[in-house]
Symmetry: C2
Subunit: 226 residues, 2 copies
Amino acid sequence: MKIGVIGTGSVGRTMAARLAELGHSVTVGTRDPAATTARTEPDGMGNPPFATWHAEHPDVTLATFEQAARHGEIVLNATGGSGSLPALTAAGADNLRGKVLIDISNPLDFSQGFPPSLWVKDTDSLGEQIQRALPEVRVVKSLNTMAATLMADPKQLAGGDHSVFVSGNDADAKATVTTLLESLGHTDVIDLGDITTARGSEMLLPIWVRLMSALGTPIFQFKIVR
Amino acid sequence: MKIGVIGTGSVGRTMAARLAELGHSVTVGTRDPAATTARTEPDGMGNPPFATWHAEHPDVTLATFEQAARHGEIVLNATGGSGSLPALTAAGADNLRGKVLIDISNPLDFSQGFPPSLWVKDTDSLGEQIQRALPEVRVVKSLNTMAATLMADPKQLAGGDHSVFVSGNDADAKATVTTLLESLGHTDVIDLGDITTARGSEMLLPIWVRLMSALGTPIFQFKIVR
């Protein structure tokens, strides 16, 4: 399947590599591919320069936001939350129309340091903001409640015995995403309901960041035991 | 041990019954015991009248908020979130001074219907409000992330293989609460940190209420897989 990934940070890279490994045709989008390629310093999160990563993943194509959106039958929003609406606007509503957009972002505000707060919550969510900005895109909020490495390869922790959520207004889109998630190794995909239920999964982040501190690792997951 | 329970709703009753069953001396506090006893209609949540429940649990004493607080070596705040600060104020700072207060409440606002939103969140929490209002009480936020029946008897679901959180400023108080939780059957007690981490556990409620809808039952639990 052709997949577009919006964003070249750790989530975008980890998902792109895994999807390419599974045989998908993956194009990663960035604002300015030449500038992204030219960088020689680690990014703000300590990830190596994109070019270093790309040399190890030549099967992934680097392109503009627009080109990545146009390429994808499914598109992943793997930008940091504050960059999501600008990046998706740059990707273009025409290039995304009718497509499934898996929104992995979280509205984390680090302006006051760690732990971050959420700049939208409870009575709205970033998933809903994206759906409102792009009404003809079929937004499915998912994967935003775990570390990137577990999004892409959940079986590395407890054999995959933990949960992932989907929220969205389009049942077919959620079914498509569920199939993709299962192909990655997710075994318990829980449909929370329409896109307003993204408020629930985004509001998991405040305990997620505190659990990361308490446990000393980001490699943990929520399992809904029932 | 002598335990005071503030609140006669389903959380208060379920915890009181279980703690009495385990051999503790339990006094449940209400604003007006005579009025609570006189009620013959189910409460707003559909629970049977208190007198009906009390007839089946004669080992639990009904008293005022003040008397229950005075009785307890450990005190549980089992009131609904909006009633917590008034009830604890009525219980009296003098009666609670130096004691461990297990705060089970959540700041749920049902004024706009279901699902509720939170009336305090993210940059503050109800647990912190209670700690600020009662600075000489050792507040430990816990048990607020699950159905009452699972708080009291966690082993009824998956043999107890799921998680409960504690947040508080006093390490000894958290150790006391952890021992009590383990006596109830909780097997995975996670110390999130100081009382500000109650923001994390309280902000689990938005996904909890949506999971209850999606799963069709309140009998589920969060397990932190790691």
